[in-house]
């Protein structure tokens, strides 16, 4: 098709932005990153939840979790550190109190969850498996296994595989594994979770960092260290998404420092089928629909009919 014909057909219908992640049909590839969007309701005054690809809720655990002492956040150069400590209402309260609001939205809901032990992951998965409003789950494996001396599930291919296998067994829904970047080789973990049944991979979670107040010589966070997010981490995230997309066959969701449409497009070219916007939601609560619009504009300008043509289109 010549580019003139392409542009003529677009002027009638516009480019197709819909993507499919492991069976979850999304009208566009933009969704929030877990932990930056509450349970959806908090941001409803600022954007139409129908205009984003999916809603990803704050990470849930089996029991409610208190989180860390404060200060929990610190601003850094083009980024922020957080050590919230996964404070959340727990899976049962989520189903009872938070889900009814999300029921009113047609946008697919992806529930992020984690466990402190292998068994907890399995139990949360069971409780979510029969909830029709849950389109899919996102597994946070960046947590320490309290039964195994605090080794983070996601840093050990064997532990990562174990947890994904167990959740896979307990839950017949699309399963996205969210990977931690705090590893030597992310492709090893990506391969392990794909082989254990993950339908998609989301990368990256935050990078562990630290910031010190030089006047008091104390860490800025009560937890000493925290997860670094925001534009500061974007090049690392793009690199890791590219590596993972080269390694696995399942779709990849790219996340890390997206604040503009061009950032999201970078991830798509690197190999992501969809993207998540995190820290930027704090800066501009209406940013996700703006990013969708920007992606659409780019497709029109570049004569791209279908967003999927862009995925993994890196020229080397």
């Amino acid at each position: 098709m010549s580019s003139e014909t392409t542009k003529a057909s677009q002027s009638v219908t516009g480019p197709r932005l819909a993507v499919n992640i492991a069976g979850i049909e999304m009208k566009n590839p933009v969704m929030p990153a877990s932990g930056t969007f509450g349970y959806g309701e908090e941001y409803a005054p600022f954007l139409d939840l129908e205009n984003i690809g999916a809603i990803v809720t704050k990470g849930l655990s089996l029991k409610p979790k208190a989180g860390n002492p404060t200060p929990r956040i610190a601003e850094t150069i083009s980024g922020m550190l957080n050590a919230i400590g996964l404070q959340n209402v727990g899976v049962d309260a989520f189903i009872k109190y938070k889900l009814p609001f999300l029921r009113e939205v047609t946008t697919p809901v992806i529930v992020n969850f984690f466990g402190n032990t292998l068994e907890e992951y399995g139990e949360v998965a069971k409780r979510l498996s029969d909830i029709p409003e849950v389109a899919g789950v996102e597994l946070n494996i960046s947590c320490p296994n309290v039964k195994k001396g605090g080794i983070v599930f996601g840093t050990d291919p064997k532990a990562a595989a174990e947890v994904v296998s167990l959740v896979r067994k307990n839950l017949a829904k699309p399963l996205i594994a969210k990977l931690t970047p705090n590893v030597t080789d992310i492709t090893v973990i990506a391969r392990a979770v794909e082989e254990s049944g993950a339908d998609a991979i989301c990368c990256i979670n935050t990078l562990t960092g630290m910031s010190i107040d030089i006047k008091t010589r104390r860490p800025r966070l009560a937890n000493r260290t925290g997860g670094l997010s925001g534009p500061a981490i974007r090049p690392i995230a793009v690199r890791m998404v590219h590596q993972v997309a080269q390694t696995v066959k399942v779709p990849v969701i790219g996340v890390g420092g997206i604040v503009r449409p061009s950032d999201a497009i970078e991830f798509l070219i690197a190999g992501a089928t969809a993207v998540q916007v995190g820290t930027a939601n704090f800066v501009d609560p209406g940013i996700m629909p703006a990013i969708v619009e920007g992606i659409e504009q780019y497709c029109i300008e570049e004569g791209i009919d279908d967003i999927n043509e862009l995925v993994g289109s890196l020229q080397v």
């Binding site: 930056t36 600022f46 002492p69 404060t70 083009s78 919230i84 820290t279 501009d284």
Partner: protein, 285 residues
């Protein structure tokens, strides 16, 4: 509550290191209540990345530029330059583009009009108290006890007086008003008005001292707290404070941005309040 993509109307230094900024905000005043705050985006480019929380000093109208036009509604912030964000703010001028998200959070409960009202402000902590005073003076007798390190930290006293508020000033160095702590003035006032209600905002050591004084005398107290915030909407959970009855086993965290920034004293866990301090840029004093 909405995100105003708007402009600065004026930005003036009113005391060394303290500025007052008027921002065009049509319709803002109708929804803003005393004690609420805004998340201010210093500039639309990065850095700084995050917005800064600021208490609303007041809202008002400017006369229109020409006849037949509606008056310009504004919101006013009063801030102290303490870091990178407020340094950039200090350099903003009429016409500069800014973004303001708000009004956010829970404000003050005006309480029973028949009671005497005592407002205690430390430094920049007077900010939310001005809008509160403008509401309370309609029905109640209001006193402001204003404390600061030096005379430069004492702001907007004449404006409170114009509302009909009786003001008492104390400074650590005695450069203005009485020498000493504002809490000493509070003790005296509570002897005179034991049935008063107290509203306080300022640095944490002052807030804690006010709480002790009010608790000893069983005086109702509302405090406006400050915290580091990322979202201001209750989504990030970065600005929590320990609620009354908090324990490791049964944690009770409250979001300063959503359940606050104004709390009744009895809602909070005062035993360990001072352990954790996360001051927002606009409120360090």
């Amino acid at each position: 509550m909405k995100n105003y993509k708007t402009m600065v109307l004026s930005n003036q230094e009113i005391s060394p290191g303290y500025y007052r900024m008027r921002i065009l905000a049509p319709g803002f005043g109708a929804s803003a209540r005393p004690g609420q705050f805004v998340m201010f985006r210093v500039q639309t480019s990065l850095p700084p990345l995050l917005r800064r929380p600021f208490g609303i000093f007041r809202t008002g109208f400017l006369p229109p530029d020409c006849e037949g036009q509606p008056p310009k509604e504004y919101l006013e912030l009063l801030y102290k330059v303490v870091g990178r964000g407020t340094n950039i703010m200090a350099g903003l001028h009429h016409g500069d583009r800014v973004e303001v998200l708000g009004p956010l959070g829970r404000g003050f409960d005006p309480g029973n009009p028949a009671e005497e009202k005592i407002l205690v402000g430390g430094g920049i902590g007077l900010v939310p108290l001005y809008m509160l005073a403008s509401h309370l003076t309609k029905t109640s007798s209001v006193r402001l006890l204003m404390g600061g390190r030096t005379r430069e930290d004492i702001l907007a006293v004449t404006e409170f007086e114009r509302l009909g508020v009786e003001t008492y000033v104390s400074t650590d160095d005695g450069s203005l008003g009485e020498e000493g702590l504002v809490t000493e003035v509070l003790k005296r006032k509570l002897e005179k008005f034991p049935g008063a209600s107290v509203y306080a905002c300022g640095p944490m050591p002052m807030i804690e001292a006010v709480q002790r004084i009010c608790a000893e005398r069983k005086v109702p107290l509302q405090v406006s707290l400050e915290a580091l915030m990322a979202c201001g909407l209750g989504a990030c959970l970065g600005c929590v404070v320990k609620g009354a009855g908090h324990s490791e086993e049964i944690p009770r965290y409250l979001c300063t941005c959503k359940e606050g920034p104004v709390f009744r004293a009895e809602q909070l866990d005062w035993a360990r309040m001072g352990e954790e301090t996360g001051y927002c840029e606009g409120c360090k004093s």
